[in-house]
Symmetry: D2
C-alpha cells in the first residue's frame, strides 16, 4: 500500500502517517519525490484498513498495491482449477463445456424433450430454473421443488449434469440434493450469507457476475466460497449495466482473459442473459469461445414463443445445433476442443484433447 502525501504536506503530517502505520503493526518507508512524498506500507497481509490512513491530514490518496483477494488468485496457485462433474464434464481445462436448457423448468414433457435434443447436439450440462428471481413480485417465480425433481428426472434419462439456481439458504439445501452445480445469480453475487452457505455445501458453484460488479468484486465474492473450503467455483460473465439499451446488458467478453490472468478459476459466458435478444446469442456465444471462455451457458427452448420466461432470448433447437458446429471449429482455431458428447457416435467429431491423446 502506498500513501501519497499532498504537495503541501508538512513534516509533522508525514511523521503522523508513519507513526499510524507503525501503530497498525506494519513497517513504513517514506519515499521523497520531486513533487511530493509517498510512503510505502510494508507487510500488508491483505487486511490493512485504508480508511484510517485516508482520513489523516496531508494525505492525498491511498493506493492499494496488494490485491485484496488471496485464495482465488493466480499469484498463489498458478495451475488452473479443474471442476469435474460426475458425468465426466470437466470445466477449466482444455475442453469447452456447453450448458444449455430453458430459462425455467415448466413441465415434464418440456424439460425431457429439450434435454434429449441438447444431449444429441452435444451439450453435457442441462440448465433450467426452478427458483426464479424476478424483478416484479407478480411475475412467474418458478416451479420450486417440483422443478428440481423434473431436472433430476432429466438427468437420469440423459446423463446430463444439472445446474440450477439457489436463492436462499433453504434453497441451497434443496438444490444441493438434486443438482450437480449450484448457481448463484447475478442479483445475489454479494449476498454473503448465501455465498457462505453455498460454499459450505461442498458442491460445485457457478457464480454469476453482478450487474455492476467489478472483476475484483467478483473475485472477492468467489473468495467467500473458497474461504469455506470449497474450491470448486466456476465464474460466469453474463453482461453488465450500460448506458445503452440496444441489448438488455452489455456482455463484457474481455472479462474472460482478464479473469484468466488474475485467477486460476474457470470462467464461462452466458450470452443469453448477456444480450437478452435471440438474434445476438449465436454471434456472442461464438465470440465468447473465441475470447477463451471455458464454457458457455445458453438458453434453448423447444418452443420459445410460449416460454413462461425469457422467451425472446431463447434459441430454437435448430439454432443451437448450428451454433454447436460453429464453436467446434472456433475451438479448434485456438487449440481447444469441446467436452466430448454424451450421445453415442458423437464424440468422434469433436477433437478434444483426450481423444487427440488416445
Amino acid at each position: 500500500m502506498l500513501i501519497v502525501m499532498k504537495h503541501s504536506a508538512r513534516e509533522d503530517e508525514i511523521r503522523r502517517v508513519v507513526e499510524t502505520i507503525q501503530d497498525m503493526g506494519y513497517e513504513a518507508r517514506p519515499i521523497p519525490g520531486r513533487q511530493r512524498t509517498a510512503i510505502g506500507l510494508i507487510g500488508n497481509d491483505g487486511n490493512v484498513d485504508a480508511d484510517r490512513l485516508e482520513g489523516l491530514p496531508g494525505v492525498l490518496q491511498v493506493i492499494p498495491v496488494t490485491r485484496p483477494y488471496k485464495q482465488v488468485s493466480r499469484e498463489w496457485k498458478d495451475e488452473p482449477t479443474l471442476v469435474t462433474l460426475q458425468n465426466g464434464t470437466r470445466i477449466g481445462g482444455n475442453e469447452i463445456a456447453v450448458m444449455a436448457g430453458p430459462c425455467s423448468v415448466e413441465s415434464e414433457p418440456q424439460i425431457l424433450e429439450i434435454a434429449h435434443r441438447l444431449k444429441e447436439a452435444g451439450a453435457t450440462v442441462l440448465r433450467g430454473g426452478a427458483f426464479k428471481p424476478r424483478t416484479s413480485p407478480y411475475a412467474f417465480q418458478g416451479l420450486g421443488v417440483r422443478g428440481l425433481e423434473l431436472l433430476a428426472r432429466a438427468r437420469e434419462e440423459t446423463g446430463m449434469a444439472v445446474v440450477t439456481e439457489a436463492l436462499d439458504p433453504e434453497g441451497v439445501e434443496l438444490v444441493a440434493q438434486h443438482a450437480d452445480i449450484i448457481q448463484i445469480g447475478a442479483r445475489n453475487m454479494q449476498n454473503y450469507s448465501l455465498l457462505r452457505r453455498a460454499g459450505a455445501s461442498g458442491k460445485p458453484i457457478l457464480l454469476k457476475r453482478g450487474m455492476a460488479a467489478k472483476i475484483e468484486e467478483l473475485l472477492l465474492s468467489a473468495e467467500y466460497i473458497l474461504a469455506e473450503g470449497n474450491g470448486q467455483v466456476i465464474l460466469c460473465e453474463r453482461g453488465v449495466r450500460s448506458f445503452d439499451n440496444h441489448t438488455r446488458n452489455l456482455l463484457d467478453l474481455t472479462a474472460i482473459p482478464v479473469v484468466h490472468a488474475l485467477s486460476h478459476l474457470p470462467i464461462i459466458a452466458d450470452p443469453s442473459h448477456g444480450t437478452g435478444v435471440r438474434a445476438k446469442v449465436t454471434p456472442m456465444a461464438r465470440a465468447a469461445v473465441a475470447a477463451g471462455a471455458d464454457g458457455i451457458m445458453v438458453e434453448v427452448h423447444p418452443n420459445p414463443n410460449h416460454a413462461l420466461s425469457d422467451g425472446a432470448q431463447s434459441l430454437y433447437p435448430e439454432q443451437f445445433e448450428d451454433l454447436m458446429k460453429q464453436i467446434a471449429v472456433i475451438a479448434m482455431a485456438i487449440g481447444r476442443g469441446l467436452v466430448p458428447s454424451l450421445a453415442e457416435g458423437k464424440a468422434r467429431g469433436r477433437g478434444s484433447r483426450d481423444r487427440a491423446l488416445s
Copy 2:
C-alpha cells in the same frame, strides 16, 4: 403495451401478433402509420409477458406503457406515505428526518458517547451497523447480536430511534426485536427472499438503492415489501456506479424528485456512502435537502481515525453540528423544517411545521 412492427412486416405477421395478443387474453388494436404499423395491447394488468411478443417475426420493438409496479405508485395512491416511529419522528411529511451514527457499533462507550452528542445536535434516529456486509471475507464483519444490544441500550438512554441492517432471514428476526427500522442494504436490494421476510416483519423498512439499480427496479423491490402487506417503506439514495472514481459512488440526487413524482413513498439520501469521502459529505447532505429529500443518513464517529470501518467517510461530531445548522436554513428556504429535536430546549430553534402551527 405497444408492439411496433418492422417497416417490412407482412400482413400475416401483423395478424399473428394480433392473434397472439388475443390468445393471451388481451385486446389488440392495430394502428397503421405512414412508415410502419404499431399494435396497441389493451387491458394490460401489469402482468403481460413481453418476451412472447418480442420473439414473433416482424416485430421491431415492444414498448411498455403501463408501469410494472402498482402499490408503490403515486398513480394509485396520491397522498404521501408517512412513516411514524415510536419516538415521534415522522418521515415523509413536511419535516426532514436526520439519521446519524457510526458505520459500525464498536463498543458501549463509543455508541453511547456518540448517541448523546447526536441527540444534542438534533438527530432523532441513531444508525449503527451490527451485521456488516463486507466486500472481503477477511474484513471486520460487525459485533452481531452484541451490537444490537448496544444500540438498544443507546435508545433507552437517549430516546433516539434505531436503524440497523439485516443481512439474512435470521438477521431480520433479531433486528426486528431490537430496532425501530430494519435496513436492507444496497447489495441486497434484489435479494427477494430477504425483502419478503422483512416485509412480513411488519416493521418500518429502509430500502437502499442497489449500486446499479434503475429507479424502476428500486420501486419494484419496494413492491415486494408492500406485497407482504407492509406499507412502512423508506427509500434511500446512496450513490450508484459510475465510470469516474473521483468519489466511491455517484450520488444521484435527481432520484429524489424522480421518486417523489412516481411514488408516494418517502426517500432520504445517504451522502456518506454516496461519496465515500468526508470532505464531500457536508456539501452533498445540504444538496440532498435542497433537492427535496425527506431525510438524510450520515455517518458520524467520535474518533473517525480509529473507526473499525468507513472511517474516511465519517464526519467529526463538530462537523455534524455545523451541518445541522446549515440544513435547518435550507429546509426553511423550501418551506420545510427539521423533525423537532429530542434534546431539551432545542425544539424551539428548528422551525418545524408543528411549531409553525402552534
Copy 3:
C-alpha cells in the same frame, strides 16, 4: 509514478525496469515488500510515458502518483480564479452567478422579452444558442450569425453579459466578436483544435463536461486552454451518461466539491441539460447551490411549449422567479450571496459579500 512488479517477477526483470526508468531520464527507487517489489519513479515532470513501462515483462501495474495536469491544479495556485465580466459579474468568488435564457435564440421579440424578465428576476448573464450542435442532421441548427446579433442587441438593451456556444474555429471568431463568454459544449470537450482556438481568443471560456468525461479529463481539457495563456475558464457540470433513463443525464453534483478540491477554477452547474425535465430543474438548481456551485445556468423560455429546441426542459419565467428567491436563501445558509442584480432597486435584497461589507 509507481511500478508494481508481479509477485513472481525475477531479479533481471526488476533490473530491466530500473534501467528503463534511468534510460528515460528519471531516477528509480526499488521498494521491496513482503509480497512483491514496487519501484518508485522519481522526478516525474508530468510527461512520463507509462506505456513503455507497462509493457515490460514482470510488471503488474503502473500507478500514476503525480497528476497529469498542472496549470489548472490547486496544488500550484491555491487562490481561486475569479472570472470578471464587463458588466461586473464575478464568477469564482463568494458570489453565485446566474446565467439564464432560452435554449436557442429564435427571434428578436423572443430574446428581448425574456432578457428583460430575467434581468428583473436578478440574472446577470444571458444564455442563448446561435449555433446548435444537434444529434440529428435534420434538427433545427440555430439562427447562426443572426442569432449572435440578436444576443448582442439584448445585451445593449439590458446590460446582461452574453454566453453562447462556438462549434468550430470560424465560430470562435464570430462568437468572440459578439459575446462575453465563449461556450465549449459537452460534445466538443475533447475537440482539441477548438480548445486551442478558444484559448487563443483571450475571452472567458465556459467549458462543459463531456457526457462521459472523468473529472481529470475535464481538467486536462481546461489545461489546453490555459496552455494558450488564457486563465479565464469556468467549468460546468451538466450531467453524465448513466444506465438509468429516468432523466436525460445524471447530474453529478459531487463534481462541484471535487473540482474545488483539485482546481482553482470556478465551476457552475446546468440542471436544465443535467436533467432534461422541467420539473427536476428547480430542485437540482437549488441542490447545486447547496453543494457549493459558483453559479447555475438555467434554460428559461417565454413560452416553453413553442420552443424550437429543448422546450421540455425550459422553465416558465414565473418558475425562474421563484427559484431565484429560494437560492438566495440557500446561498445565505452557506455564507454566500448572489451576484448583485442589474435591475434597479433589486441589489439591496441579495446579501452579497460586497454589500455586507459596505
Copy 4:
C-alpha cells in the same frame, strides 16, 4: 411517435395534445386503454419535435417509434454497403479486412519496416497516426504533415491502403490528399463541423464510436456524412466507458450484430483501443471476427517498448502473425474469408469468396 397520457389526465388535456399534434402538421390518433390513454402521432417524417409534446400538461411520456436516422438505416436500403479501396480491399462484403500498424508514425524506417511485415502477414490496410488527439496538451501530438508523407511513402512501397485520423477541417484536406480512408476519432464522433467536412471530401470515412455513444447516436453521426452525399462509411467499435477499470475501455462486441441489424453500413472492431492491454488484444480480435465484424484494426509496432504512444497495447509483429492464422480459421467457421493478401503466394491460403467462386 406515441404520447402516453397520465392515468389522471383530463379530457381537455388529451384534447390539447391532439390539437398540438395537428398544429404541427401531423395526424393524431387517440388510443384509449384500460389504465390510460395513449395518442399515436401519424406521419412522422423523422423531424417531429418531441419537446413540444413532452412539456404539455397531462403527458406522462413521449415514446419515439420511428427511428431518427434515415439514410444509414437498413429499413430503407437492405443490401450491405460495400466500401472498395483502390488496392482492391473491400469492406462490408463477405471478406474480413485487416487494418494494422503503429499507433503513431514515428520515422521512415519505423513505418516502412512495419508496413512490409504487415503486408507479408496478410494485412491490406496500414494504420498510423500523424495527427494525434491526446488527453494531455503536453503529450506527443504526432508528426503532422511529415507523418502523412511517410504513410504515402509506405503505400507506394507496399501497395497497402492507408487510414489515418483528421482532427479538424484543415486536417481533412491534408489527410484526403495522402490517405485512402479518413478516420474520425472517438472524441470527435459528435464534432458535426468535422463530420460534414469529411463527408464533403468524398473519401471513404472510418467513423469511430464515441466513448459513451449509444448505437443510435453513432448511426446519427454517420447520417451527417451520408447527408453530404458520401455513402462510403465504415463504423468502428472501439470500446466504451465502464465502471470497471480492468481494461481501458469496455469493448462492446454486441454492437456488431446490433449495427448489422439496424444499418447497411459495415462495422469493424478495434481491440487495441478497446482493451488498452496487449495481452487482451489477440483474444478480443478473435472474438470480434467470431461476432461477425467486417474487419479489425490492430496496433502493431516493431518495438512496442519504445513506441512514442500506446506502446502497452501494441502487438509484437510475431503476435500479429499468429493472430492472422487464428482469424483465418474463425472466418471459415462462419462462412467468410479474409481479404486476399497483397503478398505474393499468400492469397492462396485464405479461402476468400473470390477464390471460392473461381
